[in-house]
């Protein structure tokens, strides 16, 4: 069963704007990861945030984690047309630590 759920399902913004995507999960996690998928391609890892971290940055990406609300957000600043893709959160929970993916947010950045 899906653990993480992304919100919104689709997001359309203008180039240069910031994009924020949210992810909620149900049970305690070991860590949470964000992936990007360009159309017709495999998933590419963006960033991993551990359960004891609250915020993490990587270039134009900022990820926050709120374990009390069981939620995470991915912020992409100064978006570019090349950021157009689907974004997935994936959490690792339980002893098996398998990654469980949400259904993703489709981001469209208009030039």
């Amino acid at each position: 069963s899906q653990q993480g759920e992304e919100d919104p399902q689709a997001l359309s913004i203008q180039e240069g704007e910031n994009a924020t995507m949210n992810c909620s999960y149900k049970t305690s996690i070991n860590n949470l990861q964000w992936y990007r998928q360009n159309s017709g391609r495999g998933l590419v890892h963006l960033i991993l945030i551990r359960s004891n971290e609250r915020e993490k940055h990587s270039g134009r990406l900022r990820v926050t984690l709120d374990t009390s609300k069981k939620s995470s957000s991915l912020l992409i600043t100064a978006s570019r047309a090349a950021d157009t893709a689907s974004y997935f959160c994936a959490d690792s929970s339980g002893s098996a630590r398998q990654l469980t993916f949400g259904s993703g947010t489709q981001l469209t950045v208009l030039p």
């Binding site: 070991n30 391609r41 690792s92 630590r97 990654l99 993916f101």
Partner: protein, 113 residues
């Protein structure tokens, strides 16, 4: 070339036929995974493997068989394909399970007619 490769990229098969999707990685990662991706469901784990000769079921294993005789290969077999198995299949590998990034292949688009 280093990386993880899947073959074939596209496959059309008939209901009831057996079909095998191949996955090969060059990093010697211990863990390998098979996911299927369907609209509205995101990625769902079919099977995973922690090492050669060790495999375990994921969320949706019914109708699939896997083997891992060598660390670098993790084939997925549909023993008798059904239309509900029409999907995009992704193989992934990782050094650790859940605590490190997973590397994905480019996917196999399977259509069962």
């Amino acid at each position: 070339d280093a990386g993880i490769t899947q073959s074939p990229r596209y496959k059309i098969t008939e209901t009831g036929r057996q079909v095998t999707l191949m996955c090969h990685q060059t990093w010697s990662h211990s863990y390998m995974f098979w996911y299927r991706q369907d609209l509205g469901h995101g990625l769902r784990l079919i099977y995973y493997s922690a090492a050669a000769d060790i495999t375990d079921k994921g969320e949706v294993p019914d109708g699939y068989v896997v083997s891992r005789s060598k660390t670098e290969n993790f084939p997925l077999t549909l023993e008798s394909a059904t239309r509900s198995q029409t999907s995009v299949y992704f193989c992934a590998s990782s050094d650790e399970v859940g605590t490190a990034e997973a590397f994905f292949g480019q996917g196999t688009r399977l259509t069962v007619v």
